[in-house]
Amino acid sequence: MIHYLRIFLSGMKVALASRMAYRGDFIIRIVVMFFGDLLFPMITTLIYRAGASFPGWSLPEVLLIQGIFMVVKGISFPFFFGMIEEILDRVREGTFDLMLIRPCSVLYLSIVSSFNLEYVGSFLGGIILLSYALLHIEINITLVTGLLFLLLFFFSMLILLSFTLIMSGTLFKWVGNSRVYEIFDAVTKFCLYPRSIYSEAFQNLISYVFPLAMIAYFPAASLLERLDRGVIYSLVVCLLFFLISRAFWYRMLKQYTSAGG
């Protein structure tokens, strides 16, 4: 346990020092994250300014969902999302083998050696959005809703980790395909809006099969007291989803080690 904590700390130190070698670029990347993520809240605002709306949802309520998405990303991505780039590069260049001659879990090593702080941009944008939303919505957060929110928030991070595992696992086989990021961006667009805009079947799909609704909608709904009982099933689905994506990652790794890159 202490061994793994030490690996984490030294991995984080090295990754940070590496990024800091190009300070200017690092700061610009944070700015890119910030603007890139604020794009969709801006478009939502433009829609509402035109006098239109998502039926049953006020602008601050929608922005609450989008703000939560950014904060979840901002908090969790520094710890694992860089793994995709790490594996993409290493498999392409053939240096992933070097990860396999280290005496610790390959998955853990891939995660800690790709610590990346540039998602601070998303976090800042998310905090701004959240504050705006919370100032304009009347909600009283009780201990119960607060705890529920934290639980859902944790599961949200778990789903993002699952997606990261699926994407990086794919890269063991689909060598050098940087378009996995575009796939991720396209799929997570569904997280940015109230679930009620989708058709019944699609709502079930993103709640109980690919639990995209857990990423931002459910945590937001818990604060707005709009949760239904279905969320309990969704929690179970999330756990399964995580286990399956983890198994998928290891399966792809196994294929990599028997195919020899």
Partner: protein, 267 residues
């Protein structure tokens, strides 16, 4: 010149054909992003009959559908490629060639997009037609094709200019990504430009970005509007052509300064 374009374009086409599995990812991404827009606007128009900012639901879906397809026709990596060549120093080999790098990059784009036409545009068009029941036919084929070609040129010239920043700066990836976000927003890729506040619309009218995507899309629909402007197709396409020529001259100017700097400092 045509011979060069044909030769390079054909080689690029063949080279990229090996990466078709990468290009085919578009068949997933395009429809998924369209599905998001489909749900957004279906929901928005459900609570609001009639038109919003000059669009009814059907026109809005056509707007996003055609924006997606136009992007398959005009997107390119010219800027990224150029700055990579400069940073790694491989650009030197192009100075020694009889063909200018700009023409070379343009020809590459032609070949790359030719491949995109078969692998992205045609299949996605069929998906839009069969799955979403979006029937995409331009109001006036000739004006649209002309406007599309000008959009193709505009996209290339703007990207190429941004790539040329590499002559002056060592790391331009960050700046380029920020620029790309603004380029797409101001070109109307994410939302029709008529949704912006009036003042912004009037400014956007004078910037080159609308001529990349927004203008071809409006020409496709057959009616042009932005801010207080409402123009005939011939007028806006004429304006688009003027902007492309200005941009061409501007890029020529930057190119000459850039080469001077590159050969003066490097090599």
């Amino acid at each position: 010149m045509l011979k060069t374009i044909k030769g390079v374009a054909f080689a690029t086409y063949k080279e990229w054909a090996a990466y078709r599995s990468h290009i085919l990812v578009s068949l997933f991404i395009g429809p998924v992003q369209f599905l998001v827009q489909y749900y957004i606007w279906s929901s928005v128009y459900a609570g609001q009959a009639g038109t919003i900012r000059g669009f009814n639901l059907e026109q809005m879906l056509v707007y996003y559908g055609i924006t997606t397809l136009i992007n398959y026709c005009i997107m390119d990596f010219a800027g990224w490629n150029l700055q990579m060549l400069i940073r790694t120093g491989r650009f030197v080999t192009f100075i020694l060639r009889p063909v200018s790098h700009r023409l070379f990059a343009f020809s590459q784009k032609v070949g790359h997009r030719l491949l995109g036409f078969w692998l992205e545009l045609v299949p996605v068009y069929i998906i839009f037609l069969l799955v979403f029941d979006i029937y995409l036919v331009p109001a006036n084929v000739l004006w649209f094709l002309l406007s599309l070609f000008l959009g193709f040129m505009m996209m290339f010239l703007i990207n190429y200019c941004i790539g040329m920043a590499g002559f002056w700066l060592t790391r331009t990836e960050g700046i380029r990504s920020i620029f790309v976000i603004f380029r797409d927003v101001f070109a109307g890729v994410f939302i029709p430009l008529t949704f912006f506040p009036g003042v912004v619309q009037n400014i956007l009218f004078f910037l080159p970005f609308q001529y990349i995507s927004y203008v071809p899309v409006r020409v496709f629909i057959g009616d042009y509007q932005l801010g207080e402007m409402s123009l005939e197709l011939s007028q806006i396409v004429g304006l688009q052509a003027t902007y492309v020529i200005v941009m061409l001259l501007f890029s020529e100017f930057i190119w000459r300064m850039g080469i001077k700097r590159f050969t003066g400092v490097g090599v």
